[in-house]
Symmetry: C2
Subunit: 362 residues, 2 copies
């Protein structure tokens, strides 16, 4: 099979690596930036670097467009025009409605795609053949997409290790608005609110706790990319914002009314929702949280992680809460399943740290 | 100096330990739960365990009330009545207005207190003498609080290693509403929105990304405590919610209008705010983020942390982004200052991982 990759960053490069190693594919690549192509060849993500889109897609059965969201419509259009009548053209962008709405009405060869992987890094330097291993890869056919095209793309995605799932463009964009775009908007708004409130007090900035840090971690992340995503998925994001804003309004009313039991019930409901949404993620059972109190000195995280590693316990997630002067702090560790948590607790205790497994019985 | 601690959990126990070791104080403690008192004596947090409040406060120059927020008004009232005419009575709760509003009009001996420490764990088992080292400790005098009382309390707080700062009750509660209580409300609302949206699709839950996980990490945390905090600080929390809700409304309008540049500017502004609010925290310069791509197997976090420890690089914060099947993933590490970041980058690269320092030049 011959595959063309247009745009060879982290995702495009990883598609190249995975397709070459796992599908035995011949991969041609093109990128606006020649330097990127050189690095992609070096990383063995491509068999050949093409000078232009037409050369890259010549003879390709699958064409993967991996440009930023704002450049995608133009690139997909170019790919559809340049590629053969039997090629399936797909993309890897994080929004779909706008892109699909812009296709020619009769186009049968386009099927949208969105692998949920690699959001944390960028660049072909970080590409790897197993980036998609076990990852959801949404496939977004249009009403006209051909069955054979879909079959071919789905198979390639599965062979790269991903788990393909079909979804309609509107449902995809709404889902992404909720679980990815909305948290970014909220993080933005929260830091802006805090910055304006605290600046107006004209004081030295106060200590800011871990909850604020967590909630705003993605604020303003990667402005070039996110400006485009918010715009491309504007309707769905705006609707999700409206809905959350309405919920906040109700929360304010509830809290103002001052019924402690009602507030506690509402809060408890949020915990149940969170457990249902998040804690069943991952392999090996529900995530359990261990809280460890440590001296925050070089080596202490290593010591704990190493001891757990020796016991075969994997740390699925970790959060440090350093004390203000960084002299000491607490560490939250999440491990999969109650048994694993028990084992981890014993191991950490043996190192002489205070440790407890959070929740579960409450 | 003789100090009484009423309620000997994490904070009360740590006050006991710090006061005994650093102030050479004689510490008497009382707790509703006899078992707690036994454990507190074992941990050497107390010199003596009292049977009741009156016995505990007898002869005390400082009385520290460390009960949950909902029990605080009654406990403070009892402490004021039982303690001598010269004793200063303080609390460690996270809201102040309601408490101070409930004091007798002529009361001169009460000064509120709020150490920003220890939110991550609870119980006297986790108490430690250095819990307050370098931590902000807000002191909240009333209009009637005596100067000598204030001086005595401030000195004790500073000697326990904390950094005391005076703040008015209303300002304190508004500050806490913003940087601590509001993020909890937002986390709650976001998981509730997602749970209701996704449940209505009657499908298997979709993959949820790190941004959603971060933003909702504290959703529903510790319902017993938070129901009370939201209620006790209801007005300030509700006002902060209203304000954020208004900002969200404007963000939705901006995004709906579809001006990509305006959206990108707004997003970039959020990044600047975040940098200003958060990244100058801690010692040793602005926090820098390193992104590392690794195999997510037992030992890999340890290996990295250990190598950094060997180099004397301290990890101030850490976040793991495991791939869906936990086979691989990315790690974000925050270290203090550009030099430290450079050193850390070289060390991690030598281990054979892909690593880059995020941002800075963008």
């Amino acid at each position: 099979v011959r595959i063309a990759v247009l745009g060879v960053g982290l995702i495009g490069g990883s598609v190249g690596l995975a397709a070459r190693r796992r599908l035995g594919a011949e991969v041609a690549g093109w990128d606006r930036d020649d330097g990127v192509l050189g690095r992609a060849l070096e990383a063995e993500a491509l068999d050949e670097a093409a000078d232009n889109v037409a050369d890259a897609v010549a003879g390709a059965e699958i064409v993967v467009c991996a440009a930023p969201v704002s450049a995608m419509p133009e690139l997909v259009d170019e790919a559809l025009k340049a590629s053969g009548p039997d090629a399936v053209v797909t993309d890897v962008g994080s929004t779909k409605r706008e892109l699909i709405a812009g296709l020619p009405a009769e186009e049968e060869r386009f099927i949208g795609g969105h692998p949920l992987a690699g959001a944390e890094t960028s660049g072909v330097e970080h590409a790897r053949a197993d980036l998609f291993e076990g990852a959801r890869w949404y496939l977004v056919p249009t009403e006209r997409s051909g069955g054979l095209h879909y079959d071919r793309l789905q198979r390639a995605v599965a062979e790269m290790g991903a788990r393909p799932q079909a979804i309609e463009a509107a449902a995809h964009d709404e889902l992404m608005a909720m679980v990815s775009h909305l948290p970014h908007v909220i993080a933005n708004v929260l830091v802006q609110e805090a910055a304006s409130e605290l600046a107006s007090e004209d004081e030295r900035l106060p200590e800011i706790g871990p909850s604020f840090r967590d909630t705003t971690r993605v604020a303003g992340a990667n402005p070039a990319i996110w400006g485009d995503i918010f715009s491309a998925n504007g309707e769905a994001v705006a609707r999700a914002i409206d809905s959350v804003s309405e919920r906040l309004h109700k929360a304010a009313e509830l809290i103002r009314a001052g019924d402690r039991d009602a507030v506690a019930d509402w809060h408890r409901g949020a915990r149940d929702d969170r457990v249902r949404l998040l804690e069943s993620e991952g392999a090996g059972g529900e995530l359990r949280e261990l809280r460890v109190v440590v001296q925050n000195k070089p080596g202490v995280v290593a010591e704990i992680a190493l001891a757990l590693g020796r016991d075969g316990v994997n740390i699925e997630d970790m959060q440090l809460y350093p004390a203000q002067d960084m002299s000491s702090g607490a560490i939250s560790l999440w491990v999969a399943g109650a048994d694993e948590a028990k084992r981890a607790e014993a191991t950490v205790r043996k190192l002489g740290h205070n440790v407890s497994v959070v929740g579960g019985e409450e």
